[in-house]
Symmetry: D2
């Protein structure tokens, strides 16, 4: 079985509720818990690259993600990412990376809030990472999108093709 | 977008707890709720074929599922199924069906019990149904299996390849 | 069975997560759902007086709550309230109301986030409202507090006696 | 603050789902987790006396619970118990115990199934245990019942007074 690397970058997926301040914040990723709940038996390497809201993500952060995707030994990579700028990061990876299958995914609701789309999205992302060919993709809403044909519709909170 | 049909046959996936008797039973499928939670935007047709524990599934039931897969207009089909005899049904479909992509999936824990693997499995199954070629497959534990190379390891509660 | 009135004023108890903006907001109260989940058979009248964060609550709001407690026919009242200024509202009611048993309660985590203290607190509040004598109380952390001997410890996120 | 003892005897409250067999079983009690979730700050001593389905509870078991209630230093006791024979145990305690306040409670749905009445019931039981006078009571459905005036209505799954 080919090992898949999961790169954590933060996003709603991993946000938590701070009951003292009433604000959302990051602690550590819940990806391992989610995979345990999904009884996932894939050969996985989970690595936290950053834990940020994707609205805070800079071009330097995106360059770092790209560099990291190039350096890791795995050719199949899933990236958890905030939804707001997921398409921007996908574009940076899509135009800069060769020879790998990268699938970005995220969630509209934090996993810790109980009724999240995160488990479903993580399932689709890991499945697409196993079966799609070389390229950079977004897995959201049960669908997969090429990096150069996707945007987040912020009014609807869903991803859609450009054309 | 190509329409995918989801055929419901029952299994732990859709079981509920009867608080008056303390027993598990079937009411109606939760698949539509799960897809809503997953913000799934696939073009789907959900159809309940039967609601049974897969240990109760007869050869006549399997023949009916096969016949149904042949008759429906969709060429991509996901089947929710109890895990105990999922491999048997996959074998009946695998040896009898041509020209379609069928992915069977299920859950070890009922969706209604809150910490189910069902959301994750449904995500993988729908992703595999979009990307795998003609054939009959099982999607469990984050993996996909060919119908003729899979069994449930009942001691461990996981699916594994035969060879 | 003596009817108990539940007055809803908002607070974390009833907050929801807006997946489009990432912010918490109020829709309608979940108290009826919570009571159904608790299989509660008390004779209850649920009334939404306001739906606000208790940090936004004005003296006019508190006067309105006091007036309302006086006017309703029930002598036993539970009030759901944000925790930040719950003690202030309790003080207004405690010094202004006679002949009724009023219990304020709330939650540190929204009910909709799955792992809330709300169900537990609602249970204690309804029990104290049945058994405590005339007076105004806060029910939090499994404990009951007299209105004139309670404060929220905001560093710890718990309620404590003053002396 | 007066210490309350919580005696665990099993019941649906603490049942878990065995995903290998599809059956419900007992592991260890979830009471401490539930109290943590409820941010409970009462001075509590939790003790597991037995972990059984209350339909299996014998007269010897009930005698042991009675004996235990007599021996423990606390005068306020909450007992978690299966609902099917909760009234029988309450009767044994009610006719045999003096000078203590004992509140029995349980759940219709296991805590581990996510949408349980257990948190609500535990909240009411702990509140009644603090405020009711000497005697043996059942706390279910938001209500409290004297041991000699209660039965479980098994058709409805609720507790009710005899007269």
């Amino acid at each position: 079985m080919e090992r898949i690397r999961i790169l954590i970058t933060g996003g709603t997926f991993d946000k938590e509720y701070n009951e003292l301040t009433g604000e959302l914040f990051f602690q550590s990723t819940h990806t391992a818990d989610m995979l345990r709940l999904g009884r996932c038996l894939l050969d996985l390497e989970i690595e936290t690259l950053m834990m940020i809201d994707s609205l805070q993500m800079t071009e330097a952060d995106r360059a770092r993600i790209l560099e990291h995707c190039r350096e890791v030994p795995e050719t199949r990579i899933v990236i958890t990412h905030g939804t707001d700028t997921m398409a921007e990061t996908a574009a940076v990876l899509g135009s800069g990376l060769k020879g790998k299958t990268v699938v970005l995914t995220g969630a509209m609701i934090p996993y810790t809030f109980g009724s999240s789309d995160g488990m479903f999205n993580l399932g689709t992302a890991l499945a697409f990472a196993q079966t799609l060919g070389e390229g950079v993709y977004i897995a959201m809403n049960g669908l997969w999108f090429h990096w150069d044909n996707v945007r987040k519709n912020k009014q609807m909170g869903v991803f859609e093709r450009l054309r």
